[in-house]
């Protein structure tokens, strides 16, 4: 009985150690066992078209796909690790998957935003609202853009996103995850002028919000799990 406990504790300690170490390598990579089928299909299609991959385009990142990625990386002067990260995404021409830590500011007239702005918005939407209805995803992106236009907030998208404590997805690092197609489209729609909130600058989840101040803001509407307010 005592031995079993020791084995269990030892296994637990080793497991925790391995999980801690593994966290360092997670995020922004697609590799053996990843589940982002859409991205994997795109990778497989490109590798197949260019003669690096002979398997089927099935959205499963298995041994064959990893070998094809390694082959592609070695032929293109990239670090050969079998993982698709920023450099490999760039070489594959999958710019929408390239993580960006900075974004250029929008112009004063707000008439144009760069692709990096789209992706930054999409990553926040992914972190904050990926389980929400599509309209709720557009609404979260619109809140960020409404803040850019509001005098009480920074006047760039990156300034608003990275304002201290503004978004949980930034604080907990989820902003660095690769956004899905729905979040990217939601970001584009918001940048094209769609705003289901009609001008909200705050939102919160009434089930989980602990900030009492935000509950005092005038409510505009509720979409999915989020309450949007002025």
């Amino acid at each position: 009985m005592k031995n079993k406990s020791i084995v269990f504790i030892a296994a637990l300690v080793v497991l925790i150690t391995l999980i801690s170490a593994a966290n360092v390598f997670s995020a922004s990579y697609i590799y053996y066992g990843s589940t982002d089928t859409q991205a994997i299909k795109t990778i497989q299609t490109k590798l197949k078209n260019w003669g690096y991959y002979t398997g089927s385009v099935d959205g499963i990142f298995g041994y064959q796909t990893e070998q094809a990625v390694r082959y592609f990386q070695s032929k293109n002067g990239l670090t050969v690790d079998g993982k698709v990260g920023n450099e490999t995404f760039k070489a594959l021409g999958m710019m929408s998957y390239v993580s960006s830590s900075s974004s250029s500011s929008s112009s004063g007239s707000g008439s144009y935003t760069s692709e990096s702005d789209v992706m930054l918005l999409a990553r926040v939407v992914n972190g904050e609202a990926r389980g929400e209805p599509y309209e709720g995803q557009v609404a979260v992106a619109a809140v960020i853009l409404n803040r850019v236009e509001d005098d009480a907030f920074p006047d760039t998208i990156s300034g608003v996103v990275y304002q201290n404590g503004a978004f949980d997805a930034v604080a907990d690092g989820q902003v660095n995850l690769t956004p899905n197609d729905s979040c990217i489209r939601a970001a584009r729609d918001a940048l094209n002028g769609w705003d289901p909130t009609g001008g909200a600058i705050y939102y919160y989840n009434p089930e989980t919000a602990t900030n009492q101040w935000i509950r005092t803001r005038p409510i505009i509407c509720t979409i999915g799990n989020h309450v949007f307010c002025k």
Partner: protein, 445 residues
């Protein structure tokens, strides 16, 4: 033997965890130090910036030379923008600094507006404008004094860090900083109103939509309106009232589903106008040409009853083309009265619609003044390096949401295309946008 192996595994695991903990602890300390240095640096830069802002505002208020005043105002705008960027970068909560940020934003835009006017027209500042600048100067001094009084504490590391929702904020041990900052925030919240033709002018708080029309529609009436618009097909859809929205344009939202796809429609309570439609439909292929998508979008807005709308631009992403139209009155394009329509490039189906700008700014009673210069005279105002290809009268919206009659001059330099807006009254260059046409449509910036 078995027991020794287990003890060995346990010891090895403990050693690994111990080493990992030491490395991790060292890293955490390094990160904390780096974070503190960064915050100290931002705080020092903000304090210096507030002092310079205060000094420049004071100098500006005693200048008798128009050119010097204009230059000082440009510097004030730049300093206020910098201070705004620095304060929003500090580890303070938004609630703690929002009034200060509002003050800095308005100072930035007001100084920019005055600077531009003096550069263009010369002359002096009015007494009212001088008074507003004096008030801004006094506030900048309050900001500097408050920041300076805690500069020593920040540098001496008398601040503690606290974590809230995984974000880190700083707070002083004795609470003086928070109290001082709160008092300063209250003084900024009582800041006098300033009206000017620019962003953040107080007159914008009074803005109401101009184009909604008449009649009040409750959610039941709007529901019937949706059913009527679907006609015989209404029975094929599940139509639900989702919410009443207390946005700037009061509205009601509805979901319309055919069992597969869901559209969310938003109708204004005044006038019963369709403000927006949004759907989560994805499109896998692109079959139509951009011209076909524009035609489909045009037919859609005609069905909605919007008149005198002309094509403005089209852009494509994810096999969906977003087509923008603007209202034209008496041959003048009114850029602010715009609508956007999303069209599936697979089959021409309408996937989205957005008309908030149209209903906010469309004014049937709008009168358009006669231009004081001719199109030829306007074309002569643009750079000689450009080749002019088109000229059109346009109503432009200023930052203060006023309307300005301009000539829109389309011109190119080598392979770069520009639209240059020349004031139809004064001939001044008001705005330049660069236009990029590619396989995905048109982008302007």
């Amino acid at each position: 033997m078995k027991k020794n192996i287990l003890i060995g595994i346990l010891c090895a695991a403990l050693i690994i965890v111990g080493i990992w903990a030491v490395i991790n602890s060292s890293n955490v300390n390094s990160y904390k130090t780096a974070m503190e240095i960064s915050a100290d640096k931002e705080y020092s830069a903000l304090t210096a910036c507030a002092l310079e802002l205060s000094n420049t505002l004071e100098k500006c208020s005693v200048s008798a030379d128009s050119a010097y005043t204009a230059e000082s105002l440009a510097e004030i705008s730049s300093l206020a923008a910098r201070a705004q960027g620095l304060i929003t970068g500090l580890p303070l909560s938004h609630i703690m600094s929002s009034s200060t940020v509002e003050y800095l934003s308005q100072t930035q835009e007001y100084a920019k507006y005055l600077s531009y006017r003096l550069f263009e027209q010369g002359g002096d500042l009015s007494e009212e404008e001088k008074k507003a600048l004096e008030s801004m100067s006094a506030s900048a001094l309050v900001l500097y004094n408050e920041l300076a009084s805690f500069a020593e504490d920040v540098a001496a590391d008398d601040f503690k860090w606290y974590s809230k929702n995984k974000a880190f904020f700083f707070d002083d041990v004795n609470g003086h900083f928070v109290d001082g900052f709160s008092a300063m925030e209250e003084s900024f919240a009582e800041y006098p109103q300033i009206n000017y033709d620019g962003k953040y002018s107080d007159h914008l708080n009074e803005f109401t939509a101009k184009g909604l029309g008449e009649g009040e529609y409750n959610s039941d009436m709007l529901l019937e309106q949706i059913k009527a618009s679907l006609g015989d097909k209404a029975a094929d859809y599940e139509i639900k009232h989702i919410s009443d929205n207390a946005s700037d344009i009061a509205s009601s939202a509805y979901s319309v589903s055919d069992g597969t796809d869901i559209f969310t429609l938003n109708y204004s309570s005044t006038g019963g106008n369709l403000l927006s439609a949004i759907s989560n439909i994805t499109v896998d292929e692109s079959v139509l040409t951009t011209d076909e998508a524009i035609k489909a979008a045009s037919e859609f807005i005609n069905k909605l009853g919007l008149k005198d709308m002309v094509f403005s631009s089209a852009s494509n992403a994810d096999n969906i083309t977003t087509v923008k139209f603007v209202y034209m009155k008496e041959g003048v394009k009114c850029l602010m009265d715009n609508v956007s329509v999303q069209v599936s490039m697979a089959d021409g189906r309408i996937l989205g619609y957005e008309a908030s700008d149209y209903y906010n700014y469309h004014d049937e009673a709008r009168t358009i003044e006669q231009p004081q210069i001719t199109a030829e005279q306007a074309a002569e105002k643009v750079s000689k390096d450009l080749t002019v290809s088109d000229t059109a009268l346009t109503l432009l919206q200023t930052d203060g949401k006023n309307e300005l009659l301009c000539y829109e001059i389309t011109a190119s330099k080598e392979d770069m295309l520009f639209k240059i807006y020349i004031d139809a009254e004064t001939g001044a260059e008001r705005r330049i946008v660069r236009v990029i046409n590619n396989e995905n449509g048109t982008s302007v910036f």
